[in-house]
Subunit: 425 residues, 2 copies
Amino acid sequence: MNIRFYNARILTMEQGCDLIRGELWTKGERIAYVGPEKEAEPGTVWDEQIDCQGNVLMPGFKNAHTHSAMTAMRSFADDMPLQEWLNTRIFPLEAKMTEQDNNDLTKLAILEYLTTGVTAIFDMYLSPKDIAQACIDMGMRCVLVSGLNKFGPSVKEMENRYLSLNRLHPLISYRMGVHAEYTCDRGLLEEVSGLIHQYRAPLFAHLSETELETRECVERYGMTPPRFFDSLGLFDFGGGGYHCVYFTEEDMDLFAKKGLHIVTNPGSNTKLASGIAPVGRFLEKKINVAIGTDGPSSNNCLDMFREMFLVTGLAKLLQKDAAAMDAREVLAMATVNGARAMGLADADILAEGKLADLILIDLHQPNMQPLNNIVKNIVYSGSKQNVKLTMINGQILYRDGRFAGDVDPEAIYRKANEIIARLAG
Amino acid sequence: MNIRFYNARILTMEQGCDLIRGELWTKGERIAYVGPEKEAEPGTVWDEQIDCQGNVLMPGFKNAHTHSAMTAMRSFADDMPLQEWLNTRIFPLEAKMTEQDNNDLTKLAILEYLTTGVTAIFDMYLSPKDIAQACIDMGMRCVLVSGLNKFGPSVKEMENRYLSLNRLHPLISYRMGVHAEYTCDRGLLEEVSGLIHQYRAPLFAHLSETELETRECVERYGMTPPRFFDSLGLFDFGGGGYHCVYFTEEDMDLFAKKGLHIVTNPGSNTKLASGIAPVGRFLEKKINVAIGTDGPSSNNCLDMFREMFLVTGLAKLLQKDAAAMDAREVLAMATVNGARAMGLADADILAEGKLADLILIDLHQPNMQPLNNIVKNIVYSGSKQNVKLTMINGQILYRDGRFAGDVDPEAIYRKANEIIARLAG
């Protein structure tokens, strides 16, 4: 598809948050032009020319930590602390989930991602090939990450997935990862470290999400989770952590020194009462911070606008400083920083040659007016309702509240309800 | 208009959050029937019959504290602490606002209220008759409250407004109020107290919003703001406070004893780094707690879904308890408790004879599926995008993303941009 977006404000995110007026062209899955109004070459055939009506074209949001298929358990077991919630409600259900369930439930999450302008996800969950298939079928870009732990998969299986899923499809890549320190024993982590070194691969994990997790790790190993992982060589080739609420200054220094990424999950940390991550301090230490929703059963929604407001709002509360965490930093976290953490160097900014993963933000809605500061409007008063169009890999997947192609949302909703009825029955 | 809503889930909010299946009829501005599917009397003529497709009819949200016309200053001066923000950026602009500006800017806010399902506002701002006119013109229910302070209006003027605006129009009522302790001197508050006693009227004010305000009041008068107000007899006939972040146990006991209302404003308190109100403790003390967005220049959006999530999320963080502040309590705050605080006894629940102020929540969207717990879905994963229809006083004002009647949103946006350009110029 060759598409011309014209009459747009464009937030390329190439250098900070400056807006330009002009147009953007796509050719196949890539961006062919971004810049001021321009005549196309004679003979150019457009599949569509879209008048953006002064609305904002920007890179799509990168949801840098999620467990998509947990849609089944949305509002199923709320208002419980993390460990109790996992052990008594979530793990028993997950034990009954089939691969097909995983595929169907990921599709429900993808619908929601499209409505909130997410163009790539960093997804850790059971049976990654089924997640991958759902993403391929629906056109979502997905970086899979292993959630290996003592219940599975084996290190050998992770290796096989690493080799096969990374070459499966242009939309799909796969990263090595473990669920968390508290679900892996030392021997297993050492084995993972062997594989990390064999492939010179980065590693990702839930890290220091709760005070309990962090304290118990220190009791067990005399080290915080990040330092313990580092002592095993798990971060020798990069990677990073999800949540990172209870990071010490030393943990941050380690992350800064090794160029590791932090994915903050404020919605989940708030709803599970896990705490407030010191994101302002991370930035002072020059750590790359991205944003994730976490799974829909702990958040409970997959809405990057909620997350962006929480990132800045909670930083302001924590630092007792209304000037903390400017909107521009938050918008970078939700887009380019996420792409960096996920290894999507080609899907980060809007520029010629980059992948066409972009969204159109509707300014013609009351919450976006007046136009005193469009970036602050997006972060402080924006809503998923402002997402007018979501394009991934050059394909328009969502537009004016409707899903493109032959996607049947009602069939996906029906399936999700059937699955949870069976699992909980 | 006689409208029949059928095939609905109905959250009457009459007793807790139980859902019934059935239908709801309106006759003029009131609800004529709520209950199971039923045949209408022979000869009944419907202006419209609406198939709700299993979606949720519920009372509209009550935005129990706002300054609507501050839409002009949305994203105009962010990232500053409250006092500096007021003194250096907001007050100088407000000094230049005309009555017509106030009317035009209120209209912009009303558009936004309709998109988020707000059917009544408790609005404190300059020139209330112009706010009232905007509300009448656009069909919004509005309880005006005086923001009297040492710069105006006079107590005499407040009295005149009390007498005239309370009889202006069925959609409009007017409450006595003062801006805050720190913007009124003692003599003025004593004069207000005289009027309160003359009319046996409740009084509302910003109370204990910041630590600084609370500390300075204690230094000045040896009492916290609520106790100082009470010592002057200002709460002898009810009323309550907005924000109430730095409430002591004694302040809460006073509120409980006198049946005063608290309106919590978590979005604003977060963005201005004011702090987290102890809402869980308020509930333990059996104080009626309602929710407000505060003005769009401190929040910066007027979205009751964001506020609801923040009420529960911040309570969970503050109390370090994921079970704190169940979704049902939050939904009551956003609806019936707000009506109670605002004196809207006739617009609180969905029941025969009540005013038809209601909204339709779309469950046919991915963030509302599966239907494990609809109330939790609304509070934990709901979004303004789920508001399919907003009806006030029996009139459908917003439906499927469009404003009813001859409302011209683009003209309202243009006007708001012109006004801020002039005020800031």
